[in-house]
Amino acid sequence: MTLRKVLSVAAFTAAALTLTEAPPEALAQEKVQFFPSFTGRTGPVAPNATPFANGFWDYMKLVNERGGINGVRTLVEECETAYATDRGVECYERLKGRHGGATVIQPLSTGITFALTEKVPADKIPMITSGYGRSDSADGGIFKWNFPLIGHYWIAGDVVLRHIANLEGGWDKLKGKRIAVGFHDSPFGKELLPIVEERAKRHGFTLQLLPIPAPGVEQKAIWLQVRQQRPDYVILQTWGIMTPTAIREAIAVGYPMSKVFGTWWSGAEPDLRDIGAAAKGYNAVMMQHGSSRDSGVIKEILEKVHGKGQGTGPRAEVGDVLYMRGVVGAMLAVEGVFRAQERFGKGQPMTGEQTRWGYENLDITEARLKAIGFDGVISPVKTSCSDHMGSARARIHTWDGSRFTWSSNFINADESIITPMVRASADRYATEKKLTRRPASDCNS
């Protein structure tokens, strides 16, 4: 009885301690820039989200090895969301104030992005959602704190369709074709649809929409439809274990792999490794980077981080597609801080408000990319007050049975179509929320 009492008292005290005050950081006196990392190391997206988290952390370690951000060390703390929105919101609330305040949020989930879009303006923390989240948040006039840097779903969707049109020999050849879109039945999946619907209207091809319920381990009924209707192409907007399942089912119904195109989140090694040669010919659109094992930054990570036994994940995965995505995500986050320091004081930790300016005025040139080892990985990024995306191009890579190889050059998305769509959608959001467009005077804030 007494032991039980002691235990319960101990548990309660510990509970009170952990819940009311976070354990004090030993690094408090050192200058640090805190980057929270929202991970999906468990749950339905674990195979894909884990390499991202590893890459993110490894690059932050590399930045410290290089001497920090003008002397300010990067600090990463992870919080596990398992791709669930409510846990993501909890993680955000938990981490946003730690270690002097979060620099930038990268939620790695469209659902969490939607929820946090409502919260970040009040907390004055910018949010980078490269290739996911709200496509309309590229409009900086309404979404002051969101940065879908280097592209969003509509860019990916447009590039896939453009690539298909190129294969067919022009947009006019798509008339009368049938294109199936298998998508994660959630905001993540549906965000792709406006652009394909717009393109279908313009060029006269029919769409076959195939919503796949999460987590997507059971897709027989969906692929039966593909078998019956034999669409000319299949586009997959899937994530996590949904992707390999879809590819397996496509193979099972005898659908040719060369006609299947994944979007940015549906074409990485964890999706295809186990299927191997059977998936030869599978394509995916990459918002700029793919697997880049021979890039400068990967060599540097192998030498300075993994070489010292400091690596976050398995060494064998370093340089894979999703690992690279984590690295690129971390790089963008850090470059914004570099940029902000130029204006607000070199060698100082930046607040969320200051880094927001940094992300809005990013100018990562070819020379800068070369200096930090990203030449050939991505192309230059330049943002502005109205354009929070910075670049609108992508390329296609193809699975050769054991690894991905590039099968197209950079393809630019047609911004004359996408920009009005982004603006219209952003305006709709603003009307619903009773917001007004930022005045030009707000641009330098």
């Binding site: 952990t18 819940l19 468990t42 988290a53 919080c79 409510d86 104030g97 659902g111 939607f114 406006p194």
Partner: protein, 358 residues
């Protein structure tokens, strides 16, 4: 010693029929309310309100609703997530489609629509019972999941299927800060808990309990099963619907059908079972257990690890959290099958004799 009713004489039936017939209980609850309204808002930082107290309050409210149906009327339902979704989406529609719709009216109207849906999906309860009914209410869950992700009207034609609400305001009071949101939710919970408590103490609550205990006998003594069962569905879905609207409006701010998936229905059922079937207090305990414990474990484990100089990986923490949480549920159900509310009442009984148990 401190918890005795000696000397508290009841001179009228009214006194005997109060919610808390014992003076100490009354004072304790009043003090607790005063504490929750006046002291708690100054105690914590934003994290505690946003990540712990608000979800706790909203889920407690939903659990009160589910408890009316499952605990008091004995109709097992797996459609609670769906009724939350109806509340949230209809409140959203009321809010954005009618200019100048007051917030509270929108929330209550959301609950009103949930009531209608609840009654419709409650109709099978007139024919099927127990587990079969649970399966029948699953239909509500799947139907609503389908409707809110497929019918664009519900989401105001949002391309992604995700909806968001703007500024919350009640009669000039902007509900912005976490503390204000906490107070807003707390007021809802207090009002609804009081209403629910009074309902279950009254004639209608007795009818529900009679139906739960033995529906044939209840019908024989003149209780109309149709009326009793459907009214339980109606009241329960109304409260659950309002909770759903609060979950969307106040806690998430932006949501998608996934926020009210089947997992939510199970979660609410677990809250009610762990908290105690047929107990308003139990709903609060259950919600606290289900909401706070995982978050606590998630933060306590790294802390524990750091005491011993071990860094626990993020994934391992998550796995351990599930394992401990699962083990605790099993242990609780073995140790006290009637839920946390029963532990509470046992505690009170012991306290009456304390410190002289013989």
């Amino acid at each position: 010693m401190i918890y005795r009713e000696n000397g508290q004489f009841k001179v009228a039936y009214r006194d005997d029929q109060q919610i808390f017939p014992i003076a100490q209980d009354r004072w304790f609850v009043l003090a607790l309310l005063a504490f929750a309204f006046l002291v708690v808002p100054f105690l914590f930082d934003d994290y505690v309100y946003k990540a712990i107290l608000i979800p706790f309050l909203v889920l407690a409210l939903a659990a009160i609703g589910v408890n009316i149906l499952v605990g008091y009327c004995g109709q097992i339902s797996l459609g609670s997530g769906a009724f939350m979704a109806v509340g949230a989406y209809m409140a959203y529609n009321m809010f954005v489609r009618f200019d100048g719709m007051p917030l509270i009216a929108a929330l209550l109207l959301g609950g009103g629509f949930a009531t209608l849906v609840g009654i419709v999906f409650g109709i099978p309860s007139l024919r099927v019972k127990g587990l079969y009914l649970a399966v029948a209410t699953l239909a509500a869950q799947f139907f609503c999941d389908w409707a809110f992700s497929r019918i664009p009207w519900f989401t105001n034609n949002s391309s992604s299927g995700s909806v968001a609400v703007g500024r919350l305001e009640v009669m000039g009071w902007h509900i912005n800060t976490p503390v204000e949101k906490y107070l807003f939710c707390l007021s809802f919970v207090v009002v609804f808990a009081l209403l629910a408590k009074n309902l279950v103490r009254g004639a209608i609550g007795r009818q529900w309990m009679a139906i739960r205990d033995m529906d044939v006998a209840a019908a024989v003594i003149g209780i109309r099963p149709t009326y009793a069962k459907l009214s339980a569905f109606a009241v329960s879905s109304f409260i659950v619907g309002v909770a759903g609207a609060l979950w969307g409006f106040v806690h998430l701010g932006s949501w998608e059908p996934l926020a009210f998936s089947i997992d939510r229905s199970f979660q609410l059922l677990f809250i009610v079972i762990i908290g105690g079937l047929g107990s308003i207090m139990g709903s609060l305990f259950g919600a606290a257990f289900i909401v706070i414990l995982p978050i606590f474990l998630n933060q306590f484990l790294p802390f524990l690890g750091s005491l011993f100089g071990v860094t626990i990986s993020t994934a391992l923490i998550s796995h351990t959290e599930y394992m401990i949480f699962g083990a605790l549920i099993v242990w609780f159900l073995i140790a006290e099958p009637h839920g946390l509310a029963r532990l509470w009442s046992i505690g009170k009984q012991k306290l009456r004799l304390w410190p002289f148990p013989h």
